[in-house]
Amino acid sequence: MKNMDHTLDRLLRAAAAAGRDQAVEVPFAIEARVMGGWRVAGAGGEPLSLLPIFRRGLAFACLLMLAALILGATRIHDLTSERWTYSNAVASLALTQ
């Protein structure tokens, strides 16, 4: 197995050397495509750029819903307490008369 380790090391070293020799020249087509993609994204054609707006919109809608729920609950509470006071007043009036 140790022998296999050495064999694998020799193979990997040779493969790594081939990678080091490679010169990286960027083809013009790649730059042109990337710039084309950037222009489309800038014009709002990129779905990824819409995602943050959608997220903010969703968060805002949730906040609005929460505020509406709180407001509704407060109103209901006020109404029930008003009714309670009114019925008490009627009963009290009936007793006193």
């Binding site: 296999m4 694998l8 193979l11 990997l12 990337v34």
Partner: protein
Amino acid sequence: MHEERWDAAACLARIRAGDEAAARQLVARLSPLILKLVRAHLPRRTSEEDLVQTVFMRIFAKFDQYSGTVPLEHWVSRVTVNTCFNQLKYERVRPELRWADLSLEQEEVLRDLAANTDPLPAAQNYAARELVERLLERLNPEDRLVITLVHLEEKSLEEVRRLTGWSTTLVKVRAFRARHKLKKHLKFLLQEGKP
């Protein structure tokens, strides 16, 4: 090429404002780095150009996530490696590599490996690289990534940790296991090629 005090933050701000010249400057500066990484981790069935474009689109879309605390190139390397890694996940692990699948040059490399213990001659480096890439196709994406980073790109553990986001222990464990699997595949090939 653009070594005269390139201000990444200023360039990103100009791109956010829609400055095409700044975007072009960024693309020109980062393309060699991205292309090199993409070539090192390129999934077989994906076009190099497609993957470079995907990486750039992610970079443009995620500018806000770049904190500026590390050099831009580090952040870009991580985005690139993650994009390649995600792409690799779509590729199915291929079955056993057989002697009959190899080119003549790759067979020659195997014969040399079996015949002696000397380093392979430089003329065989490219064939060795191709052979390793074919062997890597038999590994899962995590194993493939760690072997490429540690053995082919000769990155340190710290660099691999930074690029992948894995812990140092996880990098060590994955590298050990991946190497073991690679060794098994190589052994199978060498035994198959024995006369």
